[in-house]
């Protein structure tokens, strides 16, 4: 249970597909290759994983044309839900909930797990203590608590 890995679609779905070159296209390829019916397109038209069904096989990650699906540790509920690598201004224009690479997550992270590279935050799961400080302090809501506790579920 805890130690399993699950697929994560790193897109909040705030971009409505057109203005962001990095986000989920809503193409549904992941949905079609998933052997466990664990991915569906949500109300924003963005793929979303149901961790109670996900097998962690990685088929979706291999199939995603945008390369924004990756496996994350189930024990780490704090995740960056954005894949936008544009500089701050462009990233801000592309989406309401995009990572703009401001580095606040890096500054507040107590364990050195959160790092911004190419204008995008990433969390090193080996170092992460799942405290959620980055999620709470992220001004863009780009970092989320998948449990829906420290950040809201939607």
């Amino acid at each position: 249970m805890m130690e399993k890995r699950f697929a994560l679609v790193a897109c909040n779905g705030g971009c409505r597909n057109e203005s962001c070159a990095y986000g989920c296209l809503g193409c549904g390829v992941c949905v079609s290759v998933c052997p466990a019916e664990a991915i569906a397109l949500n109300e924003s038209g963005v793929a979303e994983v149901d961790e109670t069904r996900c097998l962690g096989c990685g088929a979706c990650a291999d199939a995603c044309p945008q390369e924004i699906i990756r496996l994350h540790e189930g024990a780490n509920p704090i995740v960056v839900m954005c894949s936008n690598r544009d500089p701050g201004k462009a990233a801000r224009a592309a989406c309401e909930v995009s990572c703009i690479g401001c580095g606040i997550c890096e500054k507040v992270c107590p364990s050195g797990a959160a790092k911004v590279t190419d204008n995008l935050s990433a969390i090193d799961e080996e170092l992460c203590l799942s405290c959620g400080m980055c999620a709470v302090k992220c001004p863009r809501y780009a970092i989320r608590d998948l449990r829906g506790v420290l950040t809201s579920r939607s």
């Binding site: 249970m1 805890m2 130690e3 024990a75 507040v108 992270c109 107590p110 364990s111 050195g112 090193d124 170092l127 203590l129 799942s130 405290c131 959620g132 400080m133 709470v136 449990r147 506790v149 420290l150």
Partner: protein, 860 residues
């Protein structure tokens, strides 16, 4: 504003703040411990809608409608369940992490009735524990899962309370349920908050202090500077060179040097006011390390000193150089060990107030209330001080010096107000003395059979910004550098240098963790040269009863190094036969201060109105379990039962001074004093009942008499006793990670075997960190750069199987044969691990943390 639920009750919070501050400061739910306030440690873990979260992360405005649970809100059955399970497993030491661990346990068991060990490890993996090495916490969770299903709490498996019985420690319930008080858990009426403005430069002349703006801020009670100190500014256990406040014209010694104390009505005003204190400096070039400190034209760290040498020790017996020159096999090598941070879970905190008798009462978390008393009296120039230990959330040597206690006492003395002085985690990392980094050159000579002929060494250490216990640490590093072996040609010289780095002082192992890495690594290499196993070379050289240590001491009948080797042999042979990379190392560690210092244990047994015997010893329980040890002593050495005995925390006005919790000494030294008091009490009980004895005091004292270093006697007694150990590391060949650790320890007589195992497991895991990962990097401004969560401490999901084996060997004629175990648990670990890596890849590693292992920090 938000409305949510805490332990089922609706609360409306007006002021947006972190959940931690609200729970502690407003609801006084003090089971929620403040260990770092930055999301790292896990001590403030609560459940929000059933999920473990650190209370220091979310702000109250974002919690609308949520359900928050603390241990105070557990059901009665859950409270009993976790108290029993954690007690039976021996999972509670200092207790600071425990409420958080308990809530992680609940969250897991609410979802999974039958968790696997891996699920348990993952459930607590975000919560740090520095005492237990997690082993017994994992066992406690397994046990809780089992009992939760049955719904029945059984009786403890052992109930006799005599020596050798693994009874539940007496402080389990208050620590599991979080009602036991650490200093930070006190909220006194009209209490103010105090904090120090610290130096902006590691080395600078203070030209001026302008506190007018700070004083003018509403809510500020006082700004105190050096000129306000009524007594002696400089404190220190041995050498008085630690400035309580740097005066105008004075030199700063490191970034932690306090310059002004700000006192305010509340914590927010305090932080604002600290920023308003303007200090003018003349920055000067700092001394970054021993290499710079020893240069002939080096800047001086202290105006008062002639140079930067803080301590120099020379130990010599026999003719080491000659013996090595005549040896068939000789190895010479250089070794280095790093700074290490204690990382106890409870940051330093003291509360002070005027008590009803007109004394400044200090509620402290430290390793000796009496030592704190001496320092505070010195600073205040007054006898009107009393110190009382509260629960101590871990020490490991890092709470021996003054950090906040003296400041709290000074504030109350000058303002008349109650005050809480607490270090933030970042301050704690900067302020308390660390483990000394050492640079060591060793040479060893052996004959064709691997018998040690002689060892010669030269070492130096960085003792940082004030002496602390730098001298004694250096001395112990030198006296134990020989290893626990039977040879008589030994010479070592050691120097400790002042620098402008943070101070270094006591740390579990007290210098021996450093030199043991060198001598044991050399011995492993020597075994290969001679063509025998690391086990064989130790067995051939092991010190045995009646033989003479390299320091000249003839060791007693209790000496059990050979036994630890015999017990570990089947494990060693099996691992070697299975082709696994395996490493071995041994160690000895003094129990008691030794080397001729007045090392007194003192204990009063007082019969009080409740017809019970109250144990008063001025000796701190810092998590190791001293209270339980003393109660077991009394139950063993008197006709009384557990229910007749009450353990009282150390204080300075009833409990007699029994020395610091340092040098693995309390079980032996205070234990013996307690035993002597028991003899008198037992005599009295022959004629009288406890009721008749009401008000009687039975006093025991014991001087652990030793000879000073270099004493001109044929066989100086350096220490009254030594503990011995052999530890072993087995690696997983495929992953290169540690598969298991086996630790065999000779403790004379184990007072509480499960507690002993807990000490061993915790010590081994702490030193796995020292061996493999922990660092305390300091930048060019002499500033430690890492936060608590980046120190590299091991987490629950990463620890290997740890087998702790306690060997009893009678022979010591004091304390019922019990030898302290606190430090030695951490000593042979690093060289055992280094040897295992050599067996894996053929690389001899001479620096810690070890390079080229899967544990190496990738982000360095």
């Amino acid at each position: 504003m938000a409305t949510f639920y805490v332990n089922g009750n609706p609360v409306t919070v007006q002021k947006n703040q972190t959940l931690l501050r609200f729970l502690r400061d407003e609801l006084h739910l003090t089971s929620v411990k403040d260990g770092c306030s930055e999301g790292a440690c896990g001590a403030c873990t609560v459940l929000i809608d059933g999920e473990p979260c650190r209370a220091c992360v979310p702000r109250t405005d974002n919690l609308e409608g949520r359900h928050v649970l603390t241990v105070e809100g557990l059901s009665d059955f859950e409270k009993q369940l976790y108290t029993y399970a954690y007690g039976e497993a021996g999972a509670v030491q200092c207790g600071f992490c425990i409420p958080g661990m308990v809530l992680c346990t609940k969250a897991l068991l609410d979802k999974v009735a039958d968790p696997t060990e891996e699920q348990i490890r993952y459930a607590i993996r975000n919560n740090y524990c520095r005492c237990t090495g997690y082993v017994k916490i994992i066992r406690a969770i397994e046990l809780a899962a089992k009992l939760k299903k049955t719904g029945v709490i059984p009786a403890p498996s052992e109930t006799s309370w005599k020596l050798g019985s693994s009874v539940h420690r007496l402080d389990v319930e208050e620590k599991v349920l979080g009602y036991g008080k650490y200093p930070d858990d006190w909220y006194l009426p009209n209490m103010t908050y105090g904090s120090a403005v610290r130096s902006q430069y590691p080395r600078a002349r203070v030209l001026d202090i302008d506190a007018e703006k700070a004083r003018a801020l509403p809510g500020v009670v006082a700004v105190i500077t050096a000129k306000d100190i009524p007594g002696e500014n400089k404190v220190g256990h041995i050498k008085h060179d630690q400035y309580s406040l740097i005066p105008i014209g004075g030199l700063t010694h490191w970034l932690g040097d306090p310059i002004a104390l700000v006192v305010a009505e509340d914590q927010e005003t305090l932080e604002k006011a600290k920023k308003l204190v303007k200090v003018a400096y003349e920055p000067l070039p700092p001394v970054h390390g021993p290499e710079e400190a020893k240069a002939p034209d080096a800047p001086k760290v202290f105006d008062e000193e002639e140079n930067n040498v803080q301590a120099y020790k020379h130990v010599s017996r026999g003719d080491a150089a000659g013996a090595i020159a005549r040896s068939k096999y000789v190895i010479e090598k250089h070794f280095e060990t790093p700074w290490t941070e204690h990382a106890f879970l409870e940051p330093e905190c003291a509360v002070a107030y005027w008590d009803e008798d007109g004394y400044v009462r200090v509620l402290s978390t430290d390793q000796s209330s009496h030592t704190t008393l001496h320092e505070c009296k010195l600073l205040l120039g007054s006898e009107k001080v009393r110190v009382q230990n509260q629960l101590v959330g871990g020490g490991f040597g890092g709470k021996e010096d003054m950090s906040v206690q003296h400041h709290a006492a000074l504030i109350t003395y000058l303002t008349g107000r109650a005050v809480k002085v607490k270090l933030s985690r970042a301050e704690s990392l900067l302020v308390h003395p660390k483990r000394h980094p050492f640079w060591m050159d060793f040479a060893i000579g052996c004959d064709e059979n691997g018998i040690i002929q002689g060892v010669k060494a030269s070492v130096y250490s960085d003792t940082g910004a004030f002496a602390s216990l730098g001298g004694p640490v250096l001395e112990r590093a030198c006296t134990h550098a020989s290893g626990p072996y039977n040879y008589q040609n030994f010479e070592i010289e050691g120097t400790a240098y002042y620098t402008n780095n943070p101070p270094a002082g006591a740390f579990r192992g007290f210098g021996v963790t450093q030199t043991c890495f060198a001598i044991e690594s050399l011995l492993n290499e020597m075994a290969e040269k001679v063509g025998i196993s690391p086990w064989e070379i130790r067995y051939r050289n092991a010190i045995r009863p009646g033989q003479e240590l390299p320091n000249g001491q003839i060791v007693g009948a209790e000496t059990g190094l050979a036994e630890t080797l015999e017990v570990i042999k089947p494990y060693y042979d099996d691992a070697v036969a299975a082709g696994k990379p395996v490493g071995l190392a041994s160690a000895m560690k003094n129990s008691g201060v030794g080397v001729g210092l007045p090392d007194w244990g003192r204990c009063k047994l007082i019969v009080e109105e409740d017809e019970k015997v109250h144990i008063y010893a001025g000796a701190s329980c810092i998590g190791q379990g001293l209270g339980t040890v003393l109660v077991q002593m009394v139950v063993t050495n008197t006709p009384l039962g557990r229910d007749d005995v009450v353990y009282e925390r150390s204080n300075t006005w009833i409990a007699p001074d029994s020395g610091d919790s340092s040098g693995s000494r309390q079980t032996l030294v205070t234990g013996e004093a307690c035993r002597r008091a028991c003899e008198k009490l037992t005599e009295a009980l022959k004629e009288h009942s406890l009721k008749e004895l009401n008000g009687e005091v039975f006093y025991g004292e014991y001087l652990a008499k030793t000879d000073k270093l270099g004493a001109d006697v044929p066989h100086p007694v350096s220490h009254v006793a030594y503990g011995y150990a052999t530890q072993m590391c087995i690696l997983d060949k495929k992953t290169g990670r540690i598969e298991s650790m086996v630790a065999v320890h000779d403790v004379g007589k184990a007072v509480n075997p499960r507690s002993c195992e807990g000490q061993i497991e915790g010590g081994v895991v702490m030193s796995m960190g020292y061996a493999l990962r922990e660092q305390y990097p300091i930048d060019e401004n002499c500033k430690p750069i890492d936060k608590f969560g980046r120190l590299g401490l091991f987490r629950a999901h990463e620890i290997p199987e740890i087998q702790a084996i306690v060997v009893d060997k009678p022979g010591l004629d004091v304390a019922c044969g019990a030898i302290g175990i606190g430090e030695i648990t951490s000593i042979p670990t690093a060289p055992a691990i280094a040897e295992a890596y050599y067996q894996l890849d053929g690389k001899r590693r001479t620096r810690l943390p070890l390079e080229d292992t899967p544990y190496e920090r990738r982000d360095r």
